[in-house]
Subunit: 495 residues, 2 copies
Amino acid sequence: MTAYRELEQRFRRLGAIEQAISVLHWDTAAIMPAGGAAARAEQLATLRLIAHQHLVAPEIEALLAEADAASDELGEWQRANLREMRRRWLHATAVPGALVEAESRACSECEAVWRRGRLENDFAAVLPGLERIIHIEREIAAVKAERLGKSPYEALLDQYEPDASVAEIDRLFDEIAEFLPDLIEAALSRQAALPSAPVCGPFPIETQRRIAMRLMERIGFDFAHGRLDISAHPFCGGTPEDVRITTRYDEDDFARALMGVLHETGHALYQRGLPAEWRLQPVGRARGMAMHESQSLLLEMQVCRSRAFLTYAAPIIRKAFGGDGPEWEVEALYRRQIRVRRGFIRVDADEVTYPAHVILRYRLERAMLAGDLDPTDLPGAWAAAMREMLGVAPDNDREGCLQDIHWYDGNWGYFPTYTLGALIAAQLFEAARRDVPGLMQAIAEGEFAPLLGWARGRVHSKGSLLSTAELVETATGQPLGAASFERHLRDRYLS
Amino acid sequence: MTAYRELEQRFRRLGAIEQAISVLHWDTAAIMPAGGAAARAEQLATLRLIAHQHLVAPEIEALLAEADAASDELGEWQRANLREMRRRWLHATAVPGALVEAESRACSECEAVWRRGRLENDFAAVLPGLERIIHIEREIAAVKAERLGKSPYEALLDQYEPDASVAEIDRLFDEIAEFLPDLIEAALSRQAALPSAPVCGPFPIETQRRIAMRLMERIGFDFAHGRLDISAHPFCGGTPEDVRITTRYDEDDFARALMGVLHETGHALYQRGLPAEWRLQPVGRARGMAMHESQSLLLEMQVCRSRAFLTYAAPIIRKAFGGDGPEWEVEALYRRQIRVRRGFIRVDADEVTYPAHVILRYRLERAMLAGDLDPTDLPGAWAAAMREMLGVAPDNDREGCLQDIHWYDGNWGYFPTYTLGALIAAQLFEAARRDVPGLMQAIAEGEFAPLLGWARGRVHSKGSLLSTAELVETATGQPLGAASFERHLRDRYLS
């Protein structure tokens, strides 16, 4: 057996273990009775340890070298697979065991303190844990940077969005930061001039679920290969063969769960559309968090909050709830789906203000890692950045720098992927409309096969064959930029 | 670290992997979308392989020997744990890899043919696969017998019911076979003389589920540590911390699902009551299949089909379904729960005829393994045994020797545990009534804490500390016999 084949076998087994972990993780979040938590934590820790041991097995290094040496004999996908194997191996072996453990312990401890600290608006209580995590993340960034030949922050980024470049993100985010404040202002003025008609609940959960499932199915979600369930924090989990999305329902506001479901459906379609012939192999996985987010935002923001989609969906929704009156018309529904608000909370933000939340976090986390911002000064820096980007700032840390779990759970370098995803989504959708004549008309008629076919061919089926940059450029004919996103916002919110 | 401690660590990890397997197995049976089957099979095969590798790791033999040598320093539970570790290790290492694989392949192939063969009543089609499996099981029995120092059939039995003895089973089953035909006859005559009033559905599934959950909870099932779901074949799965039982509902017959749920609740309470301080260790597991079945039959047959229990449950059931009239009275309900019928199908059998089904399978499988019965002659031997034991025989193999999956899936040596479980259940319940004054009165009032407390203390909390024989004798003051079971049948069906 060639070294490459042996690596494929080993990674296949690793992939199967990781699928098991993914299903158990879904179970934990969606349906596990509370009393099962401790036992489940041990099951997951055990499987994660076993997965890690597979990845760092002493034979892997030589196998990778041998396979690299014989890479002339490999096809394009195999070479890409080998590259992704090496990436995973480099990340897994870069950090000494003691540091991995220190991170894991610091994060567990800090996360627990953070949960209480957020509740009680007590940043001071969380600060020591945060400082400890920053210290550890800096060390991890340093050893990974050394090993990967990247800058420290890029080494962290690479965990979520392989090969992302700080220079590139800076360029894109600076461009957004340049036009966004004025655009928000303009969108709000325009919105103020338009009538707004609310609908009143209660909207029965069972009805919401039926509508969601009907739309999911119509868009292309295959319930023979997936489920829709409930969890406190909606997510898309499971495996490509068994994609499980969750939502939470609000009896007073059906659109919240519905748009959430459609967002997760975007993730789900990506996962389901990954190349089946490379299942369980590194190259068969989703390209990265930015591309994953682009698929959820493509569906939720670009497609499902469009007038075209709501032209199709409004009658279904109206009929299911027995709605009547102008507030149930397409235009009213559409207006409500594209409301802009200067809010404090990222996860509640609309697509116009969302980048402001992300950019400030990106800048603050880089500054903290670089030592340019003392975490003690984070609340003040947060408020200043909010005022600069959004023109508002919370008067407490609960709605400020304590609102997101990421920093307190070791997910440094993750934030930028949200907005990279939004940029990619806009650029992809522009390309799809160019490539597929009549796409918006099809959507307005509830025909999603043209859109899904395009996304499958251009994005999903590529797995991790290309880098994100290559994938975007191949799919759209252009390097990733902010122009499509800006055009999208201007079209939707200002025209 | 002592050898014993290291073994504990290794078995703890093995236990966690096996818990993960158990949860995934539940997921597969209860909620997995059909399209996830192939990927799930690979996840499970991978985890099973990893579990097996943990168990047969080359260091284990020396660790067991070393721990045995130092067993004077161990406490009672630790020594029992070491004994159970060795048992698991012996079973895992006894069979050469090639034979394990041959069994696995033969079973997969035969099971697939059996599913079609049963549907089409085609024993001839299944025969070659069955012969192949018998051949392999004989080999496995031989190598395990050698390794365990038991007879070949006992070596197979030991996989499900450790330390079960053929002489003992023969003695018990012969005793049952002696009194059972006359008892069935008498029970049927008596039943014919009693009025029988059916209730008519439909009985809404949601109502059935609510009643089931209410009774489960009342009996002691803790929904913070478990779930009730639906599956094609009801079972009890999950882990002691997260016990998951399933049922299937029939809109025309609420009692079927209800009694099924109560049966699985018996399994669940056992699993939940296993000694938490020995969780994930071999000694912390259920004693064996006979003891497990005894706990389900104790609850279903001894308790929940009793007049006392139905005195408590009848008003709840009647009210939930809005039932009215004499057919909803305790006595009518009770009569329907203890109906006896000479049927062909084991899984539909009542507790009186059930042992007949089991005993004939036990005798036939032993004869086939010993070479005394050619599988070609199985249908004829089946019919003869049915006539002898039950006085009826099916005119087809679908309702005869093709009805159960066990032989076609490699579960040789499993059948006797059903009836051993029934004997243990009867003997335990007699002891419980003796030990706990007013037990039946408490049950009639819906108070189950006395019963559960007794079972927890005498059985559940013992895990695998004792052998089944010791456990029964300690709990009841008597070696296992058939007398309690016979008394139970005579009391309920003839008095």
